[in-house]
Amino acid sequence: MKCLSRLAIPALALSTVAAAQELHPVGNIFNPQGTPAESVYRLSLLVIAVCAAIFLVVAGLLTFTIMRFVRRRNADDNREPAQVYGSNRIEVAWTVIPILIVVVLTMATARAVVTIQNKRVPADALHATVIGHQWWWEIRYPDLGIVTANELHVPVSSVDRPTLTFLRLESADVAHSFWVPQLSGKTDLIPNRINSMWIDPKQEGIFLGNCAEYCGMQHANMLLRVVVQSPGDFEKWAAAQKLKAASDADSARSTFLSLSCISCHTVSGTAAAGTFGPDLSHLMSRATLGSGVIPNTPENLRSWVKDPQAIKPGNLMPNMQLNSRELDQVVAYLGSLK
């Protein structure tokens, strides 16, 4: 566990890949950066205002009643106060007024539900599929032929060039939930079911999110990053991801391919075609390892390959018991997958 604390403290430090982009680590729902989150924010202001008003009135009345009618010791006579049993007129009043408030809030809410949920898919929208796994995110762009993990790259949406990203949400095992608070509310990823949601981030940068449905032992470390890029940067990123994995480390590659790594992991263009774990074809383009548990640095990569259980206990990648030569080679090979 000591090892974990050493690794995890700089967890938010960035690798060189993403250093140019601003990180938004605090998912404040009142600081929305996309249309769905903004719609929620606007609705929430109305709901909060109504609730605050109700609170002030009722809490004020309560406070007044207690202050005014608390029995004072000096003025204490033993007579009971006037016995009042109720009043139908008053009961009707405080039944009807709340009903009216409920009607107003329900209508406003219904409108927000429909605006967000029944959004028409524009022809030029980007489509991505997010598949929840215990405890990482598989991310596919079917139209672009890209498979990656734990980082969802999307182009920024501006007034001149609105770009919506539609997400198809699935799960490979148990229920998970996709939540990047500044971009949108959460939607669950449920096995045997296809859900969808959409985002249109209006600011470049990296937005952090978490899995928001308890999904087992490492639920806490199923972290998610949405990397919002300018359209140009996004194109560049997509072009690089589309390429087959290229490596100049030939002997390291053959060691990697001789080990059982390939039962679970894919490296495009090689015999490694496992689908149980994250695709490693462009591992070095990602900022973190283990679904956000540690930054992707050479030392961390080595520690992870050596014993992933020490860093993220319970995760489904076993300690492969590599000897030091194998470890060097595997890390060298992975390090070459730009």
Partner: protein, 558 residues
């Protein structure tokens, strides 16, 4: 005017029996008062256990990258904490209160089915023991074993054998089924008692509100538990006989479990909180020296809550991807619950208005309950607005919201009820000084912990995470929340010491220490085994008021 007018010449004699005989008496008892006390004592024991579990979790979360607990232990702790609080603290505490008080309040000598009553208690106790036995006997793979770790609502398919190996989930299923049998038995008994054992003149219209609310709660138990029991049985079939109800790998439905569970789970929230309302509805009038304002409206609102509460379950599922139309239906039904709940708060307020409020410990707890439950209700409205819910659900905001409801609402009235009825059950007063320490420490601790957690949720902190990284804005809030636990623990220590001290040398209570109006105060403290030597006869909803104020009795107005 002699208050104990239904017990002429009765003196309670406590014989000094040797310990084994005393224990034997408690174990074989079918007396509703003893069983009530056993329910309450057992649930307080489980409350302490759940409190320790919560404290351990708060220690782990006090700082980012906490190293106090490994993830598997943490996950077991929140599963056990939730399951314990709902099934082994909330429900049995009020089963205990209902057991103790309903016969006394309706002038009966016992429950309708005394043996079923004892059966219910022992099923609850064995269910609870079965749950905790998993720590010793549960088996599983490394990282999966011993106590259940699937969360208290145990979403499928995490509970299927593919993801939950070993027997821990089976302990969870079976213990809840067993405890549920006990709860159902107790609910049937309460209903039968209320309908068949009322004393002369005790019409339904004259029944104390406490009894009315317990009647509604018992009806809700009978409505709500079957879907849970059925779902548990299906899950067992999935796990052992290859059924595929929730087994998504074989075409089962994960959402089906959620529907079944919340069809139980939401009425359950009201099953937990209505008994709190029941206590407040007795305590607030007595300490305001006025009858409850709008009795009929209070009863109507309770029944309305009971009815509406079975049509709101899917508000726990706004994020599962239901259609816009279903989402809007559940928004409307959920917001609608706010109306009868609001009526209740207004009626309590109106009861206090114009009274002479005595701020003794039971009333202090009820006043805090009113403020806290108001806030819980309003954050509930926020959660009912589906889009807002998409942000807030499964975050720490929800954790804060339901702790406001169940701790700030339920537990506060529970403590108020202890201070109010302890003298009746033991013949001794609890210390007011220690009671006020208990109250204020709890208020401080409660608000430190749960006010801050709302903000952690707003800043994107999901629930049920065993750790979080530095720099996400959650550290300070979590630290304050964890410090609050120290105050809450100190508060509970005050209560325990208070009870211990009072049992030994508390001031004698007399029959009617609070100058109250319902029938339980018309007998000795503690009441004799047969409760009333003479069957009481009542003419209004406040029989003792009538006795104490023959010049201005209630029956003239009812």
């Amino acid at each position: 005017m002699s208050i104990a007018s239904y017990n002429p010449g009765v003196t309670v004699q406590i014989e000094a029996l040797p310990l084994p005989s005393k224990l034997h008496e408690w174990i074989v008892t079918v007396d509703h008062k003893r069983l009530g006390i056993m329910y309450i004592a057992t649930s307080l024991l489980f409350f302490a256990v759940a409190g320790v579990e919560a404290s351990l979790m708060r220690m782990q979360l006090a700082f980012p990258n906490g190293q106090v607990l490994p993830p598997e232990i943490f996950n077991r702790l929140f599963t056990m904490h939730g399951t314990t609080m709902v099934f082994l603290v909330g429900m049995p505490f009020f089963a205990g209160l209902a057991n103790y008080l309903v016969p006394l309040m309706i002038g009966a000598r016992d429950m309708a089915f005394p043996r079923l009553n004892a059966f219910g208690y022992w099923m609850f106790l064995f269910g609870g023991m079965l749950l905790y036995f998993s720590y010793i006997a549960g088996e599983g793979l490394a990282g999966h074993g011993t106590a259940p770790d699937v969360g208290w609502f145990a979403y499928a398919p995490l509970t299927e054998r593919a993801f939950s190996r070993g027997t821990s989930t089976d302990y969870w299923i079976l213990s809840i089924i067993v405890a549920g049998i006990g709860t159902t038995a107790s609910a049937i008994n309460v209903i039968a008692t209320i309908f068949s054992m009322r004393c002369k003149g005790m019409t339904l219209a004259r029944m104390p509100l406490f009894v009315w609310l317990m009647l509604v709660v018992s009806a809700m138990v009978i409505m709500a538990l079957p879907p849970l029991t059925a779902a548990q049985a299906m899950l067992l079939l999935d796990r052992y006989l290859g059924a595929h109800f929730f087994d998504t790998q074989a075409g089962g439905s994960a959402i089906l479990w959620q529907h079944f569970f919340w069809l139980f789970g939401h009425p359950e929230v009201y099953i937990l909180v209505l008994p709190g309302f029941a206590c407040a509805s007795e305590i607030i009038p007595v300490f305001s020296r006025k009858p409850i304002f709008g009795r009929a409206a209070m009863v109507g609102a309770t029944i309305a809550i009971g009815l509406v509460s079975v049509s709101v379950w899917a508000h726990h599922m706004f994020a599962v991807g239901m259609s816009a139309a279903s989402n809007i239906f559940f928004v409307a039904s959920t917001m609608l619950v706010g109306v009868p709940t609001g009526i209740k708060i207004f009626n309590w307020l109106a009861t206090m208005y114009g009274g002479k409020i005595r701020l003794d410990t039971p009333m202090l707890f009820c006043v805090a309950f009113l403020f806290q439950f108001l806030i819980a209700g309003l954050t509930g409205i926020m959660l009912a607005a589906a889009p807002f819910n998409w942000q807030l659900t499964d975050s720490y905001f929800v954790v804060a919201h339901f702790h406001y409801t169940l701790l700030g609402g339920l537990m506060f009235t529970l403590f108020g009820a202890i201070y109010y009825w302890f003298p009746k059950a033991t013949g001794r007063m609890l210390s007011e000084t220690l009671g006020k320490w208990h109250f204020w420490l709890l208020v401080i601790g409660f608000h430190m912990t749960f006010d801050t957690l709302h903000f952690a949720g707003i800043l994107g902190m999901p629930r049920r995470i065993y750790t979080y990284a530095d720099g996400r804005g959650w550290g300070t809030l979590n630290l304050i929340a964890s410090i609050g636990v120290i105050f809450q623990a100190a508060a509970v220590a005050c209560l325990i010491f208070n009870i211990y001290r009072s049992l030994r040398k508390g001031a004698p209570a007399g029959n009617d220490p609070w100058d109250a109006w319902t029938l339980e105060w018309a007998t000795t403290s503690p009441p004799p085994e047969y409760n009333f030597a003479v069957e009481p006869e009542v003419r209004s909803s406040r029989p003792l008021w009538d006795l104490k104020h023959p010049e201005d009795p209630d029956w003239k107005y009812e």
